[in-house]
């Protein structure tokens, strides 16, 4: 149960705080199937994933950095996927409290976003990221990265590029999962391994990819990503209450690592 001490009493004044028991209700499967789902609330950010991982112990975030990726892709789907991956890298640098790395990644994010022709307002985000990084404002930086990601997606939607939005989200999830599984394999414990179980999340992203235009869906990279995602869904589908062992986590890491390699490869598959 969450401790409520320290909440804003002014805002909460007059309300009723209670603990609601679990025995009071049940919703049928057909209603769950019809529940609203959206990118903006049903898919967690990399920051949420990293926050959960940190609960099980200190993580060597700087040890999870990767080398610089090209920012000169010409394929729009590949740019979108890598943009998501870079935003996840930004979250990693924030967790590592590494201002210079945040600034470097922020600069690459802006370059890739500009290649997609998204809003000029993003240039302002780049300046904010630099300013917050120089002032070591880590919580604010995390919020700024989330806002940047949302602004990229919002700009894509207004430019009739809505099909690319799910690719940005997916790129972020793949990179985030690669980092988290790598950290768990390096220092396995059951509490941290629990974060790997996300079958509905992967299934939802797969369903969103199935909704994009046939032209984009049939691009070789997107096709490969979709196929690999189907395999990854099986790897993260553990029964409720079952904690994956280190070998199962390693398999997920290998699968997302292979996918990330393909996403960041300079030459997208023909």
């Amino acid at each position: 149960m969450i401790r409520l001490a320290g909440l804003g009493v002014i805002v909460l004044a007059g309300g009723i705080l209670v603990t609601v028991g679990a025995e009071t209700g049940h919703i049928p499967a057909d209603q769950m199937a019809k529940a609203a789902r959206s990118d903006s609330i049903s898919i967690p950010t990399p920051g949420e994933l990293f926050t959960a991982l940190e609960k099980s112990g200190k993580i060597n975030w700087a040890g999870q950095y990767r080398g610089p990726i090209p920012v000169t892709y010409s394929n729009r789907a590949q740019i979108a996927l890598n943009l998501g991956g870079l935003i996840a890298d930004g979250f990693i640098a924030v967790e590592a409290k590494d201002g210079q790395q945040v600034k470097n990644i922020g600069s690459d994010i802006i370059k890739l976003a500009k290649a997609l022709g998204v809003s000029e307002k993003l240039l302002g985000r780049g300046s904010s990221i630099n300013e917050f990084a120089e002032n070591n404002e880590w919580d604010t930086l995390q919020e700024e990265l989330e806002a940047t990601q949302n602004e990229v997606k919002s700009s894509m939607q207004s430019h009739a590029d809505q099909d690319l939005v799910i690719l940005v989200t997916l790129g972020g999830w793949v990179r985030g999962t690669q980092v988290v599984t790598s950290a768990i394999v390096q220092n396995y414990n059951e509490q941290s391994a629990k974060v790997i179980r996300q079958p509905a999340l992967v299934h939802f992203m797969q369903s969103k990819i199935n909704e994009i235009s046939p032209e984009l869906r049939n691009e070789p990279l997107v096709k490969d990503v979709s196929e690999e995602l189907g395999k990854i869904e099986k790897l993260v589908s553990f029964p409720e209450g079952k904690v994956p062992d280190v070998e199962q986590v390693r398999k997920v890491n290998q699968a997302v690592g292979k996918l990330m390699e393909e996403i960041e490869s300079k030459e997208a598959p023909k």
Partner: protein
């Protein structure tokens, strides 16, 4: 920059962005109320997720939103609505449809439910109209 000032600014900017997207006035107000409530949890270290869901709450019905949560994190789901809805409630169900135990906050047009999942996976947040008539609602969530 002062963190509280930033949170206030974020609430303002997020409300404005709703206007820019063509959300109805009721949705914008509901979203502002939800964010105001979520901001209170920020004092306890919760980060407000920069995302939201707006919908409609009806009498004798509940609106369900699917979310994917991580074991280890703590969450607060905050909802706001506007007249003619008078009172709403927020509850959470696991992937089997069973209601989970939550800390709940209810204050007329604003309500929240908080809990820490023991397992990662899909959960369903339900926003129920307890009193009043059909209206727009908005849901945001915070985590730490």
């Amino acid at each position: 920059m002062n963190r509280n000032l930033l949170i206030s600014l974020s609430v303002f900017v997020l409300a404005l962005s709703g206007i820019a997207r063509g959300d109805t006035d009721a949705e914008v107000q509901a979203r502002k109320d939800a964010l105001d409530l979520a901001a209170a949890f920020s004092n306890d270290g919760f980060k407000v997720r920069d995302g939201y869901w707006c919908g409609v709450v009806k009498s004798h019905d509940h609106s369900l939103v699917a979310v994917n949560l991580y074991a280890g994190n703590q969450y607060w789901f905050s909802a706001g609505t506007t007249e003619p809805a008078k009172k709403i409630a927020v509850s959470v169900y696991d992937e089997t449809g069973k209601q989970v135990t939550t800390d709940s906050y209810e204050n007329g047009e604003r309500a929240a439910a908080g809990f820490a999942p023991s397992g990662s996976g899909q959960y369903f947040v339900s926003v129920d109209l307890v009193e009043g008539e059909q209206s727009s609602f908005c849901l945001v969530y915070s985590y730490k």
